[in-house]
Amino acid sequence: MIVAGTLVPLQVVAFALVALGAPLVVLTRDPLRQALVNGVYGVSLVLLFVVLAAPDPALSMLVVSGIAYPLVILAAVARVRGERRRSKKTSDD
């Protein structure tokens, strides 16, 4: 069940994915899209943790990037957009 980190090529892939993912997260300036990219980045971190023989951190990272981050970020984005929309509506009236 536990993946032992013997696959060196897999590790190379995981490190490369993380290294590529980070600038993508930073350069995605739109928060909603960024939340999505960040989720993918989180998955790449999970993969990295697994190939580094760290199932416990991988599991924590998985729930964090799968549940915690998206929930709070999307809620925040929705709130900001909702307020914007409303203030636009009131200024139109």
């Binding site: 032992a4 980190g5 490190f15 928060p31 960024q34 416990d56 951190p57 915690a68 981050y69 970020i73």
Partner: protein, 114 residues
Amino acid sequence: MSYLPYAVAAWLCLVGLAGVATSRNLIHLAVCLTVTQSSSYVLLLTVGYVKHGRAPIFKGIKLGTPAVDPVVQALTLTDIVVSVVVVALILALALDAHRLSGTVDPDGLADVKG
């Protein structure tokens, strides 16, 4: 080649820092902050890795089998919690800022200066 994993960690730190410093949106900034922090746990897990080591969970494995360092994994767990917490707090502050000023641009927040 054997140093590239560490270079990835350093890269994450720098990329995250650049993102934080240039961000125009606090929500975006909070996520960039997690990228910076991911540098520390990637580095931790990388330095604790043992070539061909198993995970330090000895269920069905004989004691003494080569396994990676459990300490860095425990530290990483704490680190991950810290990052969630910081994101939550900064997002809460971002929402307050937006409610009060109508913007989430950190450059537009400078109410007090000097």
